[in-house]
């Protein structure tokens, strides 16, 4: 019985979640029979199940709703706003009761009577016309739910672990096999097994993924209810619901997202009257769009409302004593906008029930950053606001840096690292006063701690400079962290560490790299707390340093760049934002054909921009570059560090792949020109279709079939061998003939023809045919005939 009850609860909760969007969509379009049926079925199922589970309140509620919906189905009643409200009310009550049953709490002693009574109220009796009609979610049509089964998460975790073990066993086997004499049959079998294991791993990881639809499910209801409360008209559109993300991530993102949506409706979108006065359409647009971009999920929330009034933000900040008028005057627009993320500041002129209580964007940002995400604002005052949330695809794989300190290795999330310098860098000055160490970088003072000191390790004496990383936690100020060296940049699979380890407060998790030695992931916020830096972060210094930062920026605009060593030995710079990551690739994956170099990744070829070949080593470091569309690799000898370089080189000298020379830390370095890099990539295979098919008239001609047809296909033509039977020839088709017989047959069809001949010379002055190996003339003839 317990099991049945459990099943009933989880099924009901799941259906409720899915239906919330459906019912709003149905209200907007009451003629949508499919949605009405889905809602009806829900109540029907609940009624049926709770009958024998003996849940009389459920039964009564669902029965009442079912009756009304049944009347609507049979056309006896019209689904007006009052009815929909009543049905929603019943759904809410069922949700409350389900929750209570699930946790074993006593059922709330509220009266269900009025809910049921509300159902009976017809539109005529209810308040005249509802002032704000429902938002119109433009979902796709309701989809049939895919067949699913319910599995405990523990089982999936067990499967994941099993597969990880399999991968390790496979690696071990691969090592053993390499040591033995090669037996092709054995190797073949192993390859197959290896492939299966890899596929299995991918499939199992997918079980953790969930469609973002689930994240969007609660939005239409929020928008509808809030729109009604505030008397605003909103058209909601949701896109990209089929993007998948880690189910844990979905849960982490839902609160920030709802918060942003509420803000947007409350502060962003104006009332219909005001919108009319401003010359905007009365109905505001709210648009949510999700897409996957690399290993990030990007969710964009945009509205066409008022945007953020930065002048007002500044006023508020000054009034709250967080900012001096002086500092405010020096802030640029982006920094003013950034004030929205300060705790306790809000542009809402009055505290409403919805938002404006100062618990706002600061909490949203903290929550998003805690899961390794970022939040961006694109503000158009008076015209709208677009908020972009970027979160990692999963909580479990993050880009990280591997660093060494006190003879041990640690990982740190890439997102937490602002910059990396050597301690002999001229830009860095480390001062000490009363035991406190201060690292001054470009006139900005940071608290400086050595990782070894925080962890209670000895600082080993090592040759060469130590590395200073400027790291920041989700909240709080950036601080300087001294370590022995930063060794590597890789994608880390993070798993939770045991509570006894987490209790230290300085670790965020652990990872098991291929070498089988577990490694801990540092929590930068925890390190700052452990080193008692948190006090400093809380102080008003934040604003002062922000002011100083502006000063530092006023000179030249600086951008982060990667300093690396070319295979030919020179040291060069490349703008960091273009580099997706640094990879170690096996040298034999690189290849070239003609003057084009490429690297083989699984089953596709990615161009290598600097065309290197014949490496003298086993693995090659390569920078993976990406513009908005294409990717490419750039092979390097070594990645050195990340530095700040001026956005415009100190000496502009464009030649080849270079854009000029920069002076960085007393060294002059050539800067790669991203434009030239991507412009030099080979063209992608033509995707556009040439107009018209090419018909090869002589189906029997081997030359036409084996040599001509592939050439035409490569050029993007659709090729048909032999003339089609009957009159299926399109006037835009082009017929290619190799014999005069075929030429005559083609003439009959009445479309344009190109005649080819086998002899290099024309047979006479009347001969308009083209020599069949004259590629230029042939292509020109086809293009000409096609026009």
């Amino acid at each position: 019985m317990d099991e049945l009850l459990q099943e009933f609860i989880s099924e009901t909760q799941e259906s409720l979640e899915a239906l919330a969007g459906e019912i709003i969509a149905w209200e907007a379009d009451p003629s949508d029979r499919g949605r009405l049926d889905a809602i009806f079925r829900f109540f029907h199922t609940v009624k049926g199940s709770c009958g024998f589970l003996h849940l009389p309140r459920f039964e009564r509620l669902s029965h009442a709703a079912e009756d009304v919906l049944s009347d609507i189905r049979s056309g006896k009643r019209h689904p007006d706003a009052a009815t929909v409200n009543a049905v929603l009310g019943i759904m809410d009550r069922i949700a409350e009761l389900t929750q209570a049953v699930a946790v074993g709490a006593p059922l709330a002693q509220e009266d269900d009577e009025y809910l049921v009574a509300a159902l009976a109220v017809h539109e005529s009796e209810s308040e005249a016309e509802s002032d704000a009609p429902a938002p119109v979610p433009r979902h796709g049509s309701a989809q049939a739910a895919p067949r699913t089964i319910r599995l405990p998460l523990a089982l999936i975790d067990q499967l994941m672990n099993g597969v990880s073990d399999m991968v390790l066993a496979r690696n071990e086997l691969a090592r053993q096999l390499r040591d033995r004499a090669g037996d092709p049959a054995l190797e073949g079998a192993f390859e197959r097994l290896s492939g299966c294991v890899a596929e299995m791993r991918d499939a199992i990881s997918r079980t953790r993924m969930q469609r973002i639809d689930r994240l969007f499910a609660a939005i239409p209801r929020t928008v509808r209810d809030l729109g009604r409360d505030l008397g605003k008209r909103i058209e909601l559109s949701l896109e990209g619901g089929d993007v998948e993300m880690d189910r844990e991530m979905v849960e982490m993102v839902v609160d920030p997202l709802i918060h942003i949506v509420r803000n947007s409706i409350d502060h962003g979108i104006e009332t219909p009257e005001r919108r009319r006065a401003l010359g905007k359409p009365e109905t505001g647009q709210l648009r949510l769009e999700a897409r996957q971009s690399g290993n990030q999920i990007v969710i964009e929330i945009s509205d066409d409302g008022a945007g953020i009034d930065t002048a007002r933000l500044v006023e508020k900040a000054i009034a709250a004593g967080r900012l001096t008028p002086d500092a405010a005057a020096r802030m640029n627009e982006a920094e003013r906008l950034d004030l929205i993320f300060q705790a306790g500041l809000s542009t809402a002129s009055a505290v409403t029930a919805v938002s404006g209580r100062g618990v706002g964007m600061d909490v949203v940002r903290a929550n998003v950053e805690r899961i390794g995400g970022t939040i961006g604002l694109d503000n158009h005052p008076g015209r709208g606001l677009r908020i972009t949330l970027s979160v990692p695809l999963t909580l479990t794989i993050i880009p990280g840096l591997v660093l060494r300190a006190g003879g041990l290795h640690f990982a740190i999330p890439r997102a937490a690292v602002v910059e990396i310098l050597h301690d002999n860098n001229a830009m860095l000055r480390i001062g000490e006063v009363g035991g406190a160490r201060i690292a001054t970088i470009r006139d900005v003072r940071h608290s400086m701690i050595d990782l070894e000191d925080v962890l209670g390790l000895d600082i080993p004496a090592e040759p060469g400079p130590r590395t200073v990383m400027v790291v920041r936690s989700a909240s709080g100020l950036p601080f300087a962290l001294g370590v022995s060296a930063v060794e590597n940049h890789e994608e880390l699979v993070i798993r939770p560490a045991s509570p006894i380890v987490m209790a230290s407060g300085i670790y965020a998790g652990m990872t098991l790299p291929d070498n089988g030695k577990p490694m801990l992931l540092l929590d930068t916020g925890g390190l700052a707390r452990k080193a008692d830096l948190s006090e400093i972060a809380e102080h008003a210094d934040a604003v002062r340093t922000a002011g100083e930062r502006t000063d530092a920026k006023e000179g030249t605009e600086m951008v982060a760049a990667l300093r690396f060593e070319e295979l030919s030995g020179e040291r060069r710079l490349l703008q960091l934002s273009l580099i997706e990551r640094v990879e170690e690739l096996e040298a034999d994956l690189f290849g070239h054909s003609g003057d084009r170099a490429f690297v083989r990744l699984k089953d596709r070829l990615v161009p290598v921009v600097n065309g290197c070949q014949g490496f003298a080593r086993e693995t090659v470091s390569a920078l993976r570059l990406r513009d908005d569309r294409r990717e490419a690799y750039y092979a390097v000898a070594a990645v050195l560090d990340i530095v700040q370089m001026p956005a415009v080189p100190d000496m502009v000298a464009m030649h080849g792949n270079l854009s000029g020379v920069c002076v960085v830390e007393g060294e002059h370095l050539e800067v790669l020109n991203p434009f030239a890099l991507f412009a030099s990539l080979p063209d992608e295979p033509a995707e556009r279709k040439h107009p018209g098919r090419c018909l090869l008239a002589d189906a029997e001609d081997g030359w036409a079939r084996e040599i001509l047809a592939p050439l035409l296909r490569q050029a993007g033509h659709e090729v048909l061998i032999g003339l089609p039977e009957g009159a299926a020839v399109d006037p835009s088709d082009i017929v290619l003939c190799t014999t005069s017989d075929a030429m005559q047959a083609a003439d009959v069809l009445g479309c344009r023809t190109v005649q080819l001949r086998a002899a290099p010379q024309p047979s006479g002055p009347q001969d308009a045919s083209i020599y069949r190996y004259d590629r230029r003339a042939l292509m020109a003839a086809i293009a000409g005939a096609g026009q």
């Binding site: 672990n161 990880s164 073990d165 991968v167 390790l168 066993a169 006190g406 041990l408 925080v454 962890l455 209670g456 390790l457 798993r495 939770p496 560490a497 045991s498 509570p499 006894i500 380890v501 209790a503 230290s504 300085i506 670790y507 652990m510 098991l512 089988g516 030695k517 577990p518 490694m519 801990l520 452990k530």
Partner: protein, 145 residues
Amino acid sequence: MKQLYLFATLAGARVAIAAEEVEAVVRLTDIAPVPGLGRHVAGLSALRSRVLTVIDVAALIHGAATPAERRELAIIADIGGHSYGLMVDEVSDICWVPEGALPLRGRLDPVWMPYARAIVEHEAVPWLLVSPSGFLENGIADQAA
């Protein structure tokens, strides 16, 4: 009550652990230290794709960490969804004990007080009955203090 016990030597004392609380006994290989924690957390060790948090019980009892060369065997226990390895000196036997746990007699060394719950008679000598989770709970409490 008839019970299956694992008999081992732990921090120099004879102990019995109920067999259902023990997942396996393994030989420890590499232990990656976890700095910033108490001495009783010896570090992390990989067991195939699982990562064990290795607890140095002797350090918990006597306050002195076990030297690296004597870190050999560990009892694996799954506690609260995480895998732990408890370092033991020696494992002697796994046996059914017909009479099961007996009440503690005599005055126990105070260092053992938080961990020992009863005794088990095996081969005519008493063994202290301990539980892997007991070491952890008290271990974390210590750290907080």
